[in-house]
Amino acid sequence: MSRANYYSQQSPSIWNNNPVLVQLLGLSPVLAISTSFATGLALGIASMFVLLLSSVVVSLCKHQIAQSWRWLWFGTIAAAATSIVDLIVQLYFFALSKELGIYLSLICCNVVILMRLEASLHTKKLAKVVIDNLIVGFGFLVTILLLAAIREALSTGTIFGDLDLLRPKFVKLSIEGNANQEELFSFAKLPPAAFIILGLIIATKNLIDSKRRIGSSKIKIDTQAAKRARVTGKI
């Protein structure tokens, strides 16, 4: 079984098969855009929308998509959906589109989406496609929001400080958004912090999983027996 099929046939789950924390897919937008909660939310929702739209199209046209050409079709369909999102965001949320930059257009290259399109091609029922992809998209959204919340809280001391970015052009607010731009811990905005915090989140998840596994199976795992003597070089 090829790697692509392996991932596409895993049952989607927010916790056990999270696209970011478990499969480690689509990391570049997650790491780059998670500097603030509002941009993370926007990118997560946009990715979810692109995923849903393109997977429905793929599912509806699955008899027309030739097996050997399918990746070309996936790319084209995802790019079309991304263009729709990109144009809408540029029209109504211009400040947001400047903030997201290239990463909004790069949604069509997100591996999570391409993997799910492959899975959608092999799923019979349209309803199952929609539900599965909602779960995957929601898992992606939750992860990017968690990372973004931690990074924004560390760097500026707020969560959802730049809420004003998410206000559409046609909604007029009398209250001006007061984005707190005071820098507390500016390291959290830098790319290495994204890697470190994401690593800590993954470690926490694995810790919880292993605690659960030990708790459920009642088997005491001997940690001393599995100690490695060397971690580098040839063994």
Binding site: F185, S186, F187, L190, I196, T223, A229, R230, V231, T232, G233, K234
Partner: protein, 374 residues
């Protein structure tokens, strides 16, 4: 790893790890005492705070990794990292500066990579650079007791009031001192005289030197040359004890000296500074003898050490003169650490009885497999 019986020849190790690390700390003592003499208790408070935080983080990391706490704490490597870090940060730093710095250094730069012997970068310098990126203002304000600025008051920086001021700066919530906070912050904003050279053309050190001011008059302007001499003698002690080899310090100092002579334009207002300033008015000595020679993250072959030292010297001079940072030991040492594995790969020594080692994929006649077959 199997403990297969090994045949002679055996090499006698004169020092154990904890012994080596203690010697390094001992060699720092002259420099630390001179710094404290000139800049007040702030330096000492920094070092002690860093040691306390480093040991607690080390113990926490070791207990998380389920190793033997006492055995690992006894190797003193966290102690050395803490001392070097405490000397690098400005005196009068608030307590959370050593806390965050040592946390990053010990937890992320050291134990995430696998602990002592596995870390590719110098932990103390990682912690320092992390703080410099996060808190540029706090990391470049060199607070010293106000008495240290005047030449008139003898022994002022190490008086009781100086200690009070230092503690007040380190623990802002304590309200120890009767001085107002404005008075306390009134310090000399310089890490080394280099910044003076960069901004004003000539440094106070240079001015003092030119007006025949005695080196031993206790003004903080001339302190740096004595501090550097202290580290120089400490380094010579390490050389004599054969704890470090001469290659790295010699290469670093020679490169900095050569570059500063090449670019020095006497007389004119220049950003380049004199060679004397680059060697003795900055952190070059502690960098060359104590920081660049970290046995874990430095290159290990003799030729590799020379090139490694040259890379560090080149980076020190370039960042100082053409870069934005005041002093550049941390950046230079980390750049050197990046290149160290490559240097070790390509600059292998010839092993007696073999042809010259060829760097290449293992198993194609290279001698890189020697001793790696366990």
């Amino acid at each position: 790893m199997t403990s297969s019986p090994q045949s002679s020849p055996f090499q006698h190790a004169r020092h154990s790890t904890n012994n080596i690390m203690l010697m390094v700390v001992a060699a720092c003592i002259p420099g630390i005492s001179i710094s404290t003499w000139y800049f007040g208790y702030g330096i000492l408070v920094n070092v002690l705070l860093s040691i306390a935080f480093a040991l607690s983080f080390e113990a926490a990391a070791v207990s998380l990794r389920e190793r033997h706490i006492q055995a690992i704490l006894a190797d003193n490597s966290a102690l050395v990292a803490a001392v070097l870090f405490g000397l690098a940060i400005p005196p009068g730093s608030p307590w959370w500066i050593p806390f965050l710095g040592m946390g990053f250094a010990i937890l992320i730069a050291k134990h995430i990579y696998g602990g002592l012997g596995q870390n590719p970068f110098n932990p103390a310098m990682c912690g320092y650079l992390f703080l410099l990126l996060c808190f540029p203002l706090e990391m470049t304000s060199w607070h010293i007791p106000s008495d240290a600025l005047s030449d008139v008051q003898e022994f002022a920086p190490i008086s009781l009031s100086g200690l009070q001021q230092s503690l007040q700066l380190s623990f802002p919530f304590l309200n120890l001192s009767t001085f107002s906070s404005n008075e306390l912050i009134d310090g000399l904003a310089m890490a080394t005289p280099l910044i003076e050279s960069k901004l004003a053309g000539t440094s106070k050190l240079l001015a003092a030197w030119q007006t025949d001011q005695s080196m031993f008059s206790r003004s903080s302007e001339t302190a740096w040359e004595l501090v550097n001499i202290g580290y120089f003698f400490g380094g010579c002690f390490l050389l004599l004890q054969r704890i470090i080899s001469w290659h790295i310090p010699a290469a670093v100092i020679a490169t900095v000296l050569t570059l500063s002579i090449l670019f020095y334009s006497p007389g004119g207002y220049t950003i380049y500074g004199t060679p004397y300033l680059h060697l003795f008015g900055s952190a070059t000595m502690i960098g060359a003898f104590f920081i660049a020679t970290d046995p874990v993250s430095a290159a290990t072959t003799s030729k590799g050490k020379l090139v490694y030292g040259m890379i560090i010297g080149l980076s020190i001079y370039s960042v100082r003169v053409w870069g934005n940072y005041l002093d550049s030991i941390a950046i230079a040492v980390l750049l050197g650490n990046f290149s160290a594995p490559l240097l070790d790969h390509f600059l292998r020594p010839r092993i007696y009885g073999h042809k010259k080692g060829v760097a290449g994929p293992a198993g194609k006649g290279s001698d890189g497999d020697l001793g790696m077959d366990s």
